[in-house]
Amino acid sequence: MPLPTSHFHILFALAEEDRHGYSIMKETEELTHGDVRLGPGALYVALGKLADQGLIEETAERPAPDLDDARRRYYRITDDGRAALGGELQRLHRVMEHARRADLGWSPT
């Protein structure tokens, strides 16, 4: 099953490094040039679902005390999460390949 857009972008952001909510939100906006903007509520609903599915987990590791904010929770992608992200990227790659071959009057820039 394709991943929901928000789940895909959250996994993508966490694949690079462990992040807190604000960092995930900003990374997603940057990656999509502002097309995907997760609100605080939608972000945490998605994080809760991904955690329940075992695709991400909360990490106990914290940054250096001078950079840390105790209110923040940090999340990390799990092996299952990486597999789900890989599967989704593979699916998108197949769609792109098909689009290239299908002569849709469009080409990736």
Binding site: G21, Y22, M25, R37, G39, P40, G41, A42, L43, Y44, V45, L47, G48, K49, D69, R71, R72, R73
Partner: protein
């Protein structure tokens, strides 16, 4: 970029936001409420326009309510289906016991029905507990086909039963469990 907001002003915005998220389901609030409020404050601290943020906050909260409520309903339906699955298993075991106890005096339909009921219940519980996940999509197809068949057979027995209350009760249990199974599968 908006002019920097004072910490006091940010706290006031956060306090209002915290009151607003009181409308979201309690389970979500307890799990993520503090983080959500902190993130709202972070966005203001980093220069997000308060007006733009508030305009986004309302549809965002509706999203939370819609998604978390649907989740809670789905979870409740799964629990109900798990409990309902004990019905066919229990009925199947009773029928199986009767078939063994009165071997030769009961129609062959009895042990067959008993086996089908136990299989229906056990298969549903296995599906709910993700024990069949390695079958991937096939597990759901088999589940839906099995529950549909059970719904049809259970309904026919329950509605058209002229052979006493026992089969009618069995038919109702089977149809109810199968109907609930299809609702959960279709969610």
């Amino acid at each position: 970029m908006e002019p920097d907001m004072s910490p006091g002003s940010i706290r006031r915005h956060q306090a209002i936001y915290r009151r607003l998220i009181a409308v979201t389901p309690r389970a979500h609030r307890l799990r993520h409420g503090d983080e959500q409020v902190a993130l709202f404050g972070d966005l203001l601290t980093k220069g997000e326009s308060p007006l733009r943020l508030w305009m986004r906050a309302f549809p965002d909260l509706i999203t939370v309510i819609r998604q978390t409520s649907a989740r809670l309903t789905h979870r409740a339906a799964r629990i109900a289906l798990g409990i309902a699955s004990l019905g066919p298993i229990g009925l199947g075991m009773i029928l199986g016991w009767i078939s063994i106890d009165e071997y030769g005096d009961v129609p062959i339909l009895f042990p067959i029905t008993a086996m089908a009921l136990v299989m229906q219940g056990v298969f549903t519980l296995s599906w709910l507990s993700h024990a069949l996940d390695h079958w991937e999509r096939n597990a759901k197809i088999v589940f839906v086909v099995g529950e549909t068949a059970a719904l049809v057979v259970g309904s026919i027995v329950a509605l058209g039963s002229s052979i006493g209350p026992g089969p009618m009760i069995a038919g109702v249990v089977i149809a109810a469990q199968a109907g609930l199974g299809l609702v959960v599968a279709g969610h």
